[in-house]
Symmetry: C2
Subunit: 195 residues, 2 copies
């Protein structure tokens, strides 16, 4: 299978980076093709501009958007690895969606309504949070985060959500606990490849 | 009262722009001081960088962040005017939150837990959606959008949410309906000033 990992964190020493490397390593070990898009490293521009709208109206997209769309078109499974900031996607990841998941590529709208165009593609989402699990769980925040990402973005485009994992309270846990999470990432890699 | 309007849309001819101008005009007519931060016009950089984290750790913020924080410090009421894209904040607005609502300015964390630092400040949110109201209402999406913005961002910082309005199905309605929405914006301006 062809795996695209869309990874975003400003710090190459972050736990998110370790998750991305662990996931990519395990998928490669399992014999899959893996491509990584490190949005900070490629200096991706997350700001949807008036010019993007104009291009879309004439059936085109910006050159940098086309590069990312080609990666998506290539992939069977797309894995997003990034933190949750302010109960949502960081601007870099949100802007990747705003620009790359464009009208005509990720979905279309006609008289029959909205049709997702990424059917057949699977998605794995691995997020970290600084907030401890119990705080979000108590107020139902995980449901809201899931609905505004899995339903609002990925399923809207007809992608199949394989799994959405939250590793929580990252700044407050031990190195051993973080190492345990990376073991879990390897297990997830194995599991999604059997689906 | 001192009103800060944080506005974001790539198209100066957009309905969001009309909402922002109507809100600013009515608040001015009512005798208030109004400042507008047009995030696209000022070319705000929404990408939180490793350097931002380093500055925060030494109790500082980047120069462009400081400008925005000074505007917030000045204001009694902060009004956000922007579209909802993909059931969340556009990258430009999300990055404004990621960078400007920094640790030490918008909230602090110590042994007693999280404390919002923007107490005393009020917030109005006016959003547009392309999606018709009934589609989001049927699946409870408005609740998820409200929780991941009002609870996850503004109330987290101890701000008082005065009102969060959604104007929906904007591309599919008539000019008269949009004009009616602008009348509603004027009413909202009057209402929040009486609170």
């Amino acid at each position: 299978m062809k795996h695209l990992i869309v990874y975003s964190h400003p710090n190459p020493k972050s736990f998110n980076h370790a998750i991305m490397e662990t996931l990519a390593g395990e998928l490669t070990t399992l014999g899959h093709e893996v491509k990584i898009r490190d949005l900070y490293a490629i200096n991706f521009d997350p700001v949807l501009k008036a010019s993007d709208f104009e291009l879309i109206q004439s059936g085109k997209v910006a050159a940098d958007v086309k590069v990312e769309q080609d990666h998506i078109a290539w992939a069977d499974v797309i894995s997003f690895v990034h933190p949750i900031w302010w109960t949502g996607l960081p601007a870099m990841v949100k802007g990747y969606i705003d620009r790359v998941y464009s009208f005509g590529f990720a979905y279309k709208i006609d008289d029959t309504g909205v049709t997702g165009l990424l059917n057949g593609k699977k998605v794995l989402i691995i997020n970290t949070t600084g907030t401890p699990e119990e705080i979000y769980a108590k107020i139902g925040m995980f449901n809201s985060i899931l609905q505004t990402s899995d339903d609002g973005i990925y399923r809207f485009c007809a992608m199949e959500v394989l799994k959405h994992v939250f590793f929580t309270a990252i700044p407050y846990i031990t190195d051993a606990e973080r190492a345990g999470m990376l073991v879990e990432v390897k297990e997830i890699a194995k599991t999604i490849c059997n689906k």
